[in-house]
């Protein structure tokens, strides 16, 4: 439905993955988005967003090694793809241009 565009929540999720570095997984992403947006975020929403991002090719996932911390349970690691990064930057730039235009208009 949204093609290769980014929805608002997807954008937050994508940026959170990027901000958390190379080897992150759903739990830190959820915490990050929740703190950044200051509203409660469900795990289901994070899974759904990550799945859509992956469908669109903006993130890639791989199974991580088992660590003692989770009692040896596996986790899925996410990483932003170059195209994902490019799309996020594009979006940022569009926003900037519009805000600049608004600022221009206010000044004149």
């Amino acid at each position: 439905m949204k093609g290769d565009r980014l929805g608002e929540f997807e954008e937050f999720t994508l940026l959170a993955v990027r901000a958390l570095g190379e080897q992150t997984y759903a739990v830190p992403v959820q915490r990050y988005v929740e703190e950044a947006t200051a509203r409660p975020v469900s795990m289901g929403a994070i899974y759904a967003a990550l799945a859509r991002l992956e469908d669109k090719g903006f993130v890639q996932s791989s199974m991580g090694e088992a660590t003692a911390r989770r009692g040896g349970k596996p986790k899925r690691l996410f990483r932003v793809t170059p195209i994902g990064l490019k799309t996020a930057r594009e979006l940022h730039r569009v926003r900037e241009r519009i805000w600049n235009a608004i600022a221009e208009a206010r000044r004149s």
């Binding site: 739990v27 915490r31 409660p40 795990m43 289901g44 799945a51 989770r70 349970k73 986790k75």
Partner: protein
């Protein structure tokens, strides 16, 4: 952040974990569970256990919005459903009536389907049904179904293939020995009157084993059970065990009483095993028990008992090979049948599949199923149309909403999906209610049509499949039509908020079509019900050719091997003398097949290469006067001719007309049409004595030969009921061990009327339901349409139309689609009723009265359904309406 290993860490709520397990997650379950646990542990640390638990629930439930497979269908469906529920809440009355109507329709069709499934479709449970055959006895001039017991013994001993026998009889079942036996002083015979009458099938010990009935409880019959002198044992059928013995495992080994004889239940047959060609009996018992239950001596080769034979074609052999082999064995040893010519051979008919239960086999079964399914389909269709109407109305009312969504770029398919999801929800809700209704309605229906208690009416997988397919199809089907319409049309009109005034030609045409369909479908059902009702009435008026009311029949079941022909003759002579000596008895005579006694014999007469089925009777000389038939021409046979068994024959008027249209048959012989050279000595008036539905009065009467299985017909002066105890008291002393079955011919005739009555009741109930559904539909649509036209009506009245003008306009517009539907329905009904002509007694399939009354009822109901909303609309205050717009 750091997990605490010192104290016991709090665990996520157990219920939530259980819910989590319900969510299909495929390969990702482990990681998701680990993620949720980790989040929970952190939150429990930071925010406290109770808040962490609450959020854990929320996280688990939120997983349902996440779509694993990549499409968004599931999430959308949840959204659509919650939206649909909100929409339905706006109009609870209409939704409730629609859902109730649909669930009634589904419940009724599922119940009727259950009935058919249980009686006709359910597998017989016979292992390898393809190699299971019924052994028929081929004569020169026809096929016999039963074999003398002696032939069974011979065939079983000499044939290579397994041959098994079955004999049906009924017995009185009690769970205690108390009052069943009369004291020997009072006659000594086991009384027929106490206990429940149950069906028994007596079989050879191998029967259950050969046809693959593995015991569900206990054991099946074994060779030792069939040994002479073995204590009587039975294997109960599943249906009887469940319904009469409360599915109690401890019933195995328990003693019951059959005809007052203590008998042990040794096992229960599996639910699937229903016997080969018939409905399951209450019990299977070994032949060795037969004489014990009916107080005689053991069955031997000389016992004049007839049995049905079934066999199993050995692996590797064809049916033809098995037939040849068995014929050779039969030819070498079989007993010649009296009066029917020598046995010419053996014919093996397929048995063991459901289709072989129906007379006429698979073709008849398919026809019956087609008819039943069509009728049920019509009822469900009617209810579906109501759902479609409701959805159409709501689609129109929501044009603004849908228009806005389309304008904002929502895909049409998405909106169609939404509307279909809504009606699917209606369908499923109706299905769920229908399931509950069916559990109650099914047994009620079974009781109504007097299904034997042994027939298993519990819904099986097939019934559940039927129910779900019907509910889902009804939901989707009802949603598609309005959905297609709802998303059509331009985007701008609804946005302008102009309401339904402009360009609503299309939906009204769609509604008209739906109403037409309803009118047509309910007309077909009404016509059918009317025809069957007329047939029932006409069946009660069929001229059977004699007055059944004063007639009583006495069928003594001889302890057979003690009664050869001579002894039987002696018994009859004494019995007739005693009966004739009773006050209130006008006449008494012997016959082989008393009226409506269940038995009949048919012989084929060939004329110009065409076989005609003719009833064949054997009677004493005064039978005609006893039941009240007139000798029309020639004479009846004399008592001397009966005693000497002279080869003479009396024919019925119908037969005389058929075979000797322009001549006097008296003095001719049957030779041109039959192998016998019997001389026709008289013609007797017509009588229908076998089945009313056969309505054929072509019959031959010959002097009685088979005295062993004859029946006394008694003509009473008045009150035949009062005669029954007197007859019993008169005959019992002759031989106390003889079971006397005394019946009123009038009640046999009444039973004959049962079949059309049941059909008429069923069809009537279906038609009443159909009529209600159609009225609800027509009323609902008219209410909606007139409400939409309020502004137009207001305008018309404002510019001078009278209220009666408006009424006339509304009635005409609303009834036009009904009339079109009626015309179409009448055509369909004309074609459809042809299928039923076989069960319509004395009523033409195009009976004008039935058609006229059905159309009349439907038109009147439709007019009433249209009148109320039309009058309401015509009362509208034009000033108010005009101010509103």
């Amino acid at each position: 952040m750091t997990p605490r290993f010192d104290a016991k860490p709090p665990r996520p709520p157990r219920l939530a974990r259980w819910i989590l397990r319900l969510r299909p997650l495929g390969t990702r379950r482990a990681e998701v569970t680990a993620d949720l646990d980790e989040v929970f542990a952190e939150r429990a640390d930071a925010e406290g256990a109770s808040r962490a638990a609450r959020r854990y629930y929320h996280d688990v439930l939120s997983l349902w919005t996440w779509n694993l497979s990549g499409t968004r269908l599931a999430g959308d469906a949840v959204q659509d459903l919650s939206h649909g529920l909100r929409v339905f809440r706006r109009n609870p009355g209409a939704v409730a009536i629609t859902v109730l109507g649909l669930s009634l329709a589904i419940a009724v069709s599922t119940s009727v389907f259950t009935l058919f499934s249980a009686t006709l479709l359910r597998a017989t449970g016979v292992s390898e049904p393809a190699s299971t055959v019924r052994v028929m006895r081929a004569f020169k001039d026809g096929i016999g179904t039963t074999w003398p017991y002696a032939d069974y013994v011979t065939l079983r001993e000499h044939a290579r293939m397994p041959v098994e026998a079955a004999l049906r009889d009924d017995a009185r079942f009690t769970t205690s020995p108390a009052p069943v036996r009369r004291s020997p002083a009072a006659g000594g015979a086991p009384s027929d009157e106490t206990g429940e009458r149950v069906q028994m099938t007596f079989v050879g010990e191998g029967y259950l084993r050969v046809f693959g009935a593995r015991p569900l409880q206990g054991r099946i019959l074994q060779p030792m059970d069939d040994a002479i002198g073995a204590p009587p044992v039975v294997v109960a059928s599943y249906g009887f065990w469940v319904r009469r013995l409360a599915a109690d495992p401890s019933a195995i080994g328990r003693q019951i009483w059959l005809n007052g004889v203590p008998t042990t239940i040794v096992g229960v047959a599996p639910r699937s095993f229903t016997g080969i060609t018939d409905q399951p009996p209450a019990f299977w018992a070994p032949f060795a028990s037969y004489h014990v239950l009916y107080s005689g001596s053991p069955l031997t080769r000389t016992s004049p008992v007839d049995v049905n034979l079934y066999g199993r074609i050995p692996p590797g052999a064809t049916r033809a090979q098995a037939e040849t082999e068995l014929s050779a064995v039969a030819a070498a040893a079989a007993t010649p049948a009296p009066g029917a010519g020598l046995t010419a051979g053996v014919r093996l008919d397929p048995a063991g599949s459901p289709a072989t239960r129906v007379e006429g086999g698979g073709a008849v079964l398919a026809l019956v199923l087609t008819i039943v399914m069509t009728v049920l389909g019509l009822v469900v269709l009617l209810a579906c149309v109501n759902v479609a109407n409701l959805q159409l109305a709501s689609a129109i009312a929501r044009r603004r909403e849908i228009g806005v969504r389309l304008a904002l770029g929502a895909a049409r398919s998405r909106i169609i999906r939404q509307l279909v999801t809504e009606s699917l929800a209606l369908g499923l809700a109706a299905g769920a209610i229908a399931l509950l209704l069916t559990l109650w309605l099914g047994p009620t229906l079974a009781a109504m049509v007097r299904l034997p208690v042994t027939v298993d009416m519990t819904p099986d997988a097939r019934v559940y499949l039927f129910l779900s397919v019907v509910s889902i199809a009804a939901g989707i089907g009802a949603g598609l039509a309005p959905a297609r319409h709802g998303t059509r049309g331009d985007l701008l009109t609804p946005l302008k908020g102009d309401g339904p005034a402009a360009g609503s030609a299309r939906p009204s045409r769609m509604r008209a079509r739906l109403i037409g369909v309803q009118a047509a479908a309910s007309l077909v059902l009404l016509v059918l019900a009317a025809l069957l009702t007329r047939a029932t009435i006409s069946a009660t008026r069929v001229d059977v050719g004699f007055d059944a009311r004063p007639l009583v029949t006495i069928s003594p079941a001889f302890v057979r091997e003690r009664y050869d022909a001579a002894k039987a003759q002696a018994y009859w002579d004494a019995a007739l003398e005693r009966v004739r000596g009773l006050p209130n008895v006008r006449a008494a005579s012997l016959t082989l097949y008393p009226p409506y006694g269940g038995g009949r014999a048919v012989t084929n007469l060939k004329r110009n290469g065409v076989r005609h089925q003719v009833y064949s009777h054997e009677t004493q000389a005064d039978y005609f006067s006893t039941i009240g038939l007139r000798i029309v021409r020639g004479r009846g046979y004399t008592p001397a001719e009966v005693t000497s068994r002279t080869r003479v024959v009396v024919i019925s008027e119908t037969l005389a007309r058929m075979f000797w249209p322009d001549q006097d048959p008296v003095g001719q012989t049957l030779a041109p049409f039959d192998d016998s050279n019997d001389v026709i000595i008289g013609v007797v008036s017509d009588a229908i004595t076998a089945h009313l539905r056969e309505r054929s009065a072509a019959a031959l009467y010959r002097p009685l030969r088979s005295v062993e299985s004859a029946t006394i017909v008694v003509r009473s002066g008045s009150t035949p009921e009062a005669l029954v105890p007197a007859l019993r008291d008169a005959l019992l002393p002759l031989d106390p061990r003889v079971r006397l079955d005394i019946a009123l011919v009038a009640s046999g005739l009444q039973n004959e009327l049962e079949e059309p009555r049941i059909m008429a009741t069923l069809a009537g109930a279906l038609a009443a339901l159909a009529l209600c559904l159609a009225i609800v539909g027509i009323y609902g649509v008219t209410t909606f349409v007139t409400a939409q036209r309020t502004r137009e009506i207001g305008l018309r009245i404002a510019v001078g139309a009278s209220r009666s003008d408006v009424m006339r306009l509304l009635l005409r517009d609303s009834l036009r689609p009904v009339a079109v539907g009626l015309a179409a329905g009448a055509v369909v009904a004309l074609l459809a009723t042809q299928l039923f002509s076989g069960i319509l007694y004395g009523v033409g399939a195009r009976d004008p009265l039935a058609f006229a009354s059905a159309i009349g009822i439907l038109l009147l109901s439709a007019a009433a359904a249209v009148f109320i909303p039309a009058r309401r609309a015509a009362r509208v205050d034009p000033a108010f309406v005009l101010r509103q717009s």
